[in-house]
Point group: none
Chain length 359, copies 2
């Protein structure tokens, strides 16, 4: 599975020099057209860097790829960045990096509903064909990866450490499941690189840079997620944010983004509507739900378009038949008939004052 | 206090004809330059309209004004509308109609936190010098008028009935306090006009038309508040909306407006920042606070550790008791007891489907 281009060693050297030699990284404002000429202007590898160089080449295996810009599998969207990675260490499925992706980011300490939203959006979007990209952090990142896996979609974790140093270590099992699920754990940092604060904003530019858009699920003011969102904007990508109560401190970052022009999204469908113009996507019923049912997604094939519209209008709180008629514009007898069918199929339940959606 | 211009009887006749004679209203797409000529083209008053004409003139008193477009106190912002009122019946302070105003509108059935937000925003904005204009309906309208009064600001209620027919009648005491507080109750409809459905969208254009901007606090999809917001936009005025949980049906109208370009506001300060460019306003400390803080921040000392844990698990979205039990691991009877205590202390509120944190 590994593809070694002739110039891979050259890119690996440039990558190591950029990470470890002061001032070298700043010299790369784009991928060098002639990496050999660039390499010739830089110092020789120290013995420590030579060891890292050897270790990286030796690390390669069937599911361990050193991905350099010469490689046709280098992600095209990353190539557009002002400072693209000179090399990526890829653990898992390297092909997935060129999939249409949505970055999902947010607080490491979300509210429980915020976490649920992340799982539900990721699941619905994965089911619709988007690959979910995030940072393997606690909180929203973890929920996004989990949701994508639940939706049987590949998911990409971009590490702020070496790919052999999963951080936080409690997410090691999740990292394994991501790789086993056809996704990838990637990093531009050398093997063995420990977590260091300054690496995370660099990492964030890759998360947004791989993706058509970045969705911020919950974020406090002055959180790292807002940096990712800003980078997405600077990269010309879409920025989405989920609103929340004005009394929820974890919604304030999202609200700030929306005030600055990010698109407010209430449903996965809202994300798909924006991205659908860019790529072909499969719209699923679950994407249209405020928060798609976690346990039993609706069998879309079993319902007709009007029933789906009725369900979309219902939401997940009790609703009166009159309100449903007013929301859908359907006739009273049509609504009554649809509700009966849906009730017989256990999709809705009669409750005092109206009907409640069960899933 | 009454000012009768020479042409007041003419405007009163036009106003009555527009309300009662089919097709006449449609003829007014702006204020007629020559009301006498316009009047001459229209039929004579029926005996019923003559009675209404006489009653209106007789109704005038110190605090009862018939305000016609010739009057210098006719609100300048109303004059800009495509279809300005030909006459306003004003009970209370007529001068206040030319004050800088913010319209606040929303659901007649808001969530308890939505109602609290309306009170808090109105109070802070009134303290900052804005006059709050609304429609005297139940729910958000009532909360907005109450908040303005609490902020010692004048507030304007625009009725969808005659000013002598307060609707709903339960708001009669509020209407009296509005007038006693230096504000006004106004209408373009003749004295004695009962509440009729078609009158409310007409009334709404006056609410938005008097105001520099319209703030939608909570609104379901396809609610009348969205009509007011649309009219504000068409009138070239600002539209503001308060976001909420994506699981709160009463936030959906606000989210739809924001997606269509309305400004998301989290604090009264956000409103003042936008309107401050148009008029001189006094920024108060309360306006900058996240709304709940000024009212009743949670007294952490008054709650025990388990109650605080329950609140943390609640987040700021509606949540069912079952979900709370599953999240906290507390027993059902423990959760029920805690919720009761918290509800009695106004920390949480019962809402359809469960509970919602108020602060």
């Amino acid at each position: 599975m590994t593809v070694t281009t002739d110039r891979l060693p050259l890119w690996l050297e440039l990558s190591l020099l950029a990470q470890y030699e002061a001032g070298v990284a700043a010299a790369f404002t784009a991928l060098p057209d002639d990496p050999a000429a660039t390499r010739a202007r830089l110092p020789a590898l120290t013995s420590e860097l030579q060891q890292r160089f050897d270790a990286a080449l030796a690390w390669q295996a069937a599911d361990r790829t050193l991905l350099c810009p010469d490689d046709p599998r280098y992600p095209p969207l990353l190539r557009q960045l002002a400072d693209p990675p000179l090399l990526l260490y890829v653990l898992g499925n390297v092909e997935v990096l060129s999939d249409p992706q949505l970055a999902m980011v947010g607080s490491r300490n979300p509210t429980p509903p915020g976490r649920d939203n992340a799982v539900a959006f990721a699941k619905a979007l994965a089911e619709s064909g988007l690959t979910i990209t995030s940072g393997l952090a606690l909180g929203i990142d973890t929920a996004a990866h989990e949701g994508a896996l639940a939706g049987k979609g590949p998911t990409i974790a971009v590490a702020g450490t070496g790919v052999d140093r999963v951080y936080p270590s409690s997410n090691r099992p999740l990292a394994h499941r991501i790789v086993a699920g056809g996704g990838a754990l990637i990093s531009e940092f050398a093997l063995g690189t420990p977590p260091m604060k300054h690496q995370f904003p660099r990492r964030n530019r890759i998360i947004s840079g791989l993706s058509l858009g970045t969705l911020v699920v919950e974020a406090a003011l002055s959180s790292g997620s807002l940096i990712t969102a800003r980078q997405a904007g600077e990269q010309g990508r879409e920025v989405f944010a989920i609103p929340g109560s004005i009394h929820n401190p974890m919604a304030k970052g999202c609200h700030q983004l929306i005030r600055q022009g990010a698109k407010l999204v209430e449903t996965a469908q809202h994300v798909l509507e924006e991205l659908g113009a860019l790529i072909p996507l499969t719209l699923t019923a679950s994407a249209a739900d405020p928060v798609p049912a976690q346990a039993n997604p609706i069998d879309r094939d079993g319902l007709d378009a009007e029933q789906l519209q009725l369900l979309a209008e219902m939401g997940f709180d009790p609703i009166s038949t009159d309100e449903l008629i007013s929301r859908t514009g359907f006739r009273a007898d049509e609504v009554a008939g649809m509700l009966l069918t849906l009730e017989l199929n256990s999709v809705v339940a009669a409750v005092p004052g109206g009907y409640l959606r069960r899933r």
